[in-house]
Symmetry: D2
Subunit: 341 residues, 4 copies
């Protein structure tokens, strides 16, 4: 049901005009005349009214506002699916009792470095290996990733360590390639509303890790998930990675309240990326602890054996020894909230 509020100066003709419009869409109008304004309740299956039709109603001169009561996403909502989605990747589960840790470098730089990092994060207890082969960079003059070569190195690391691999896709034309080499496909923050890419990954059979856009509301984020779900791929993992605010002391503002809120609104697993969230290596560990305490199903952590020489995001990467500390520190927190690491 939707609520249409008319302007104070709306006439009887204006009311009839709106009512007729609704009836033309097969809906019923319930008119309530208050002392200050007339309000029209829309009765019937309003889920069939698209956002476009809603906006068209807003375009009517006598209309002051239109309030949508029904949520615009369906498949992603808890109402549609009550039980928590648990995503299986090989022998691992995301969304289950275990808090999963996905760790690795921002970008795959070369085989030696990646192997070394992969071994270290595995040793410390990570469940997945992350690493970018295609990198979305603010500057055209920055390192753009190794491409296919990077994907191959990732696959090799997986073979040796047994860690399934998470990597980003930026272009629908790379779909086949990325599918071949990765276990979970990442959609980066800047592509959260690259709708063509969403439709593409919605049609594949690999889980998708969907990062929240820099200025995406929770609703828009769930709508982006809905794009993927609507194409048949039910395995979407939401990843909070900080939003853009006025505060510049941290790279982004990590919105941890999104975690318990999403637990209410959706059945999809929620992981947190404190590395991008704060952008400073020395704040990553406390925020990883906080994410687990807030109820996150997993963490995405940037680790590099030599951050000072990293080709990207060195300032927010943990050295392996600090990553080991992180793993130690989140253990009792996970237990405190009835989970395990």
């Amino acid at each position: 049901m939707d609520i249409i509020v008319l302007k104070p100066e709306a006439t009887e003709d204006d009311i009839r005009h709106v009512v007729k419009k609704l009836e033309g869409k097969g809906l019923k109008a319930h008119v309530s005349k208050g002392t200050e304004r007339t309000i029209i309740g829309v009765i019937g299956d309003t889920s069939r009214i698209s956002e476009d039709e809603e906006n068209a109603i807003r375009a009517i001169e006598s209309v002051e506002s239109v309030t949508r009561i029904i949520k615009p996403y369906k498949l992603a909502s808890r109402e549609f699916k009550k039980e928590q989605t648990v995503i299986k990747v090989k022998d691992r589960e995301i969304g289950g009792k275990k808090v999963v840790v996905i760790a690795g470098p921002c970008a795959v730089e070369n085989k030696t470095i990646l192997m070394s990092i992969a071994e270290k994060v595995k040793e410390a207890g990570a469940s997945f290996l992350r690493g970018g082969a295609f990198k979305p960079r603010t500057s055209p003059y920055s390192f753009q990733g190794l491409g296919v070569e990077g994907l191959k190195i990732l696959a090799e690391a997986r073979q040796i360590t047994g860690l399934p691999v998470v990597t980003e896709i930026m272009d629908p034309r790379d779909m086949e390639l990325v599918l071949e080499y990765s276990d979970i496909i990442q959609i980066g923050a800047r592509n959260m509303q690259n709708f063509r890419l969403l439709l593409e990954v919605g049609q594949c059979d690999k889980p998708v890790l969907l990062k929240r856009g820099l200025s995406a509301t929770i609703k828009e984020w769930l709508m982006a998930a809905e794009y993927i779900l609507s194409k048949g791929n039910e395995n979407v993992i939401l990843c909070e990675r900080g939003i853009r605010t006025f505060e510049t002391a941290t790279r982004n503002t990590l919105d941890l309240s999104a975690v318990p809120l999403l637990k209410e609104l959706t059945h999809l697993p929620v992981v947190v990326d404190p590395s991008h969230g704060v952008g400073k290596w020395n704040l990553v560990i406390p925020m990883a602890r906080a994410a687990v305490a807030a109820g996150a199903d997993g963490l995405l952590i940037e680790v590099h054996t030599n951050p000072e020489e990293a080709l990207s995001d060195g300032e927010q990467s943990l050295k392996p020894s600090l990553f080991k500390d992180l793993m130690e520190q989140i253990k009792p927190i996970a237990e405190a909230v009835g989970r395990e690491v």
Copy 2:
């Protein structure tokens, strides 16, 4: 030249470590020891230092901050090219004395409606016709545009009215198609950092209208333009269309100060889209006037013959009669700032 500030506790060894790192990159370090902190000025061609290397320096434990002095964009900057870029499309110019008006519906809905709108906006004095064939929509259940069919209708409208056509591209795979039917290619706000798409349009021979991302800084926006310029396409038009802020009384917050600021920083033409900027048809005309007064080279205006039935953005579309008013009202403003409409 860059400025590296060390933490107060930095030792002589720490200083030597940073200096050596810089020398390894072929740069010189100028060390100034203050009473509270040591500061290292980097001398040499620091434009060769990538953002990545800068971040890697931030990763050094003894480093407190790194300040970049040089601007990260080059081809887009006024320093690189002093004279204003004027883009020629058929017999029209963007960035010249005339304030150009690009008008039309949000989306191409069908031939009859588009033709009718096209005739009306031409009559009122618009120089270009806008209309989306591929539409980025928040919901997978909203109207996604007519696709190729929409492009063909646009091309037909161009033939009849003589108005060159501006339309959006969302997917690099549509490149050939969009090039065939449009005169100016639009990159939407949600794709401002779809870097693959930017590289693609950077290689074509049509001008690109680059909308500012919802939460893009001026610097990031110019870096996105740099992506296009770096591939050889010199014809980039910047389009301010509102940024996302805490204020919800308007759809976005139209950042008009971006106009005079960009006039300082870049040689590229700047146009303003007040329709998306405010999201309410009744605020479009005053904001169009303000944009021209602030020095904009053009306007992007959504017009629909029947906003109440529009398939998208009806609430912010002007009826043709109001669009005519807009054209009348911006005329004396344009003259007041030494321009013409």
Copy 3:
């Protein structure tokens, strides 16, 4: 009328509980059971329901959301008073046909400087003199204003130039003093929700220039005006001065769309302060033009004879010669929108 939406799992008991609560407040409940949710329309004089009671309804476990239809401000609204408020200060009017210009230094520094600036701005056509005697400064170590001494200098400048004086109050304890020396009392952005101060100026007989808070919504701003109006002072001038956003290229983001929006929502005059809005002297003139084009009733401009030696806000102050340019440039814009300077 308000709209209460219940959670999908709400039972008949839950519905009865809410209905009873409303009836206890003397209101009627109109229950509509949809396929997915139950919605309760609140009928009766809901203007008597305070924000607090609204929030208390939100606290009920079965309630999903409460939407207020009625505006929370009354005296400030166009519905309450249709005709534009025109404020008379001596022989001048704010909110009338003339676009008024209030100009002067950020802070009163000493008599010689203020006199010199006052003469210059009068000569160029300013209608009011601005200048701070009490200065809210981010740092306790910054210049805090001359206090009473500053007020006296302002009064002297008024006597010599005939320009009425606008100055800021920061503390209710200074009320008597500020009233004695000024013609319009300014409430600064940081004090927009200093409710005790608002109540105080609401009881005086001088007009109040109420600056928008850095992160105040339009609604909160009008509620702050309502505080003043509710105490009997009808002469409130709203001043847009930029809001805080993620963009750091300008000091604030000047929200000019607030001007036409406020013209719809309220009868109070609206002026714009582009100096604080952008924070850079070289952007002030184009934004002053844009403000007038958007429909502002006036401008607040910082002017200093020697910005390089100004004790505050030097970076955004215009030299007198540039202020004269500004006055020249806004003249044809004002005429274009049916006003005069």
Copy 4:
């Protein structure tokens, strides 16, 4: 040391002009001419340069930017005082090993309700009682607090329960009154930059709980603390309570990364208010856990025996049974980070 960058077109005369200006302030200038720009390093005791003088340098036409290296706050910084400040209130400590919990209603409504809440929170393990007697409310028509009567009720509750009392001050004229009845004085978010109030509480001998402003940067917040410290009151407690962002799904965005960041920058204790931070009672417990995991020294929690009848903030208040749950749940988290509750 500060860094002044000149515009590319700066001449030798421009350089001399800046150098002379610095020398006039008793400082030395170190000029480095790069290939693209000239940079002037300022040598000497730049801590004596006020923000105003810095801005005045920005006003020089040939100056492109001024970067401050030194932090603008001193007394609040870790550099000034290395050891953590531990504030003693009766037999309790804030900033020590124990994570303190300050709980109670938003506003004191009457004696019966307050007593009942006070008993319950004490029983559950709270260390302090909170409650507002003076309430800053968005609307002049909302409940504004009981005033003196409320203070007296608080004092009575303290006597019976032994819980020290935290209450807000809004007006410097209430100073004596609030001092008489409270143990910790709260400065609310909307008054964080009410500088007169800050100076006032800086002169008293009670600890001050300083809430972060809705749109205050970490730096501005520490500068507000500096106002208090500079007047001699060393007992300032910082309270993160959420910042205003574009996201409306929660009341504010709780910025938990502020906690570990502040632990680096300042020696002052940091507490977190998740009730205001999220604004929804059902998200308070997970965010309380997260705050403790992030390293907070304490929590501020709104508790009400009957949120549905609360006179303010009912929607974010916990019932006593849920507050008890909260206390249980934070215990193992506190232990996990080496603290206790």
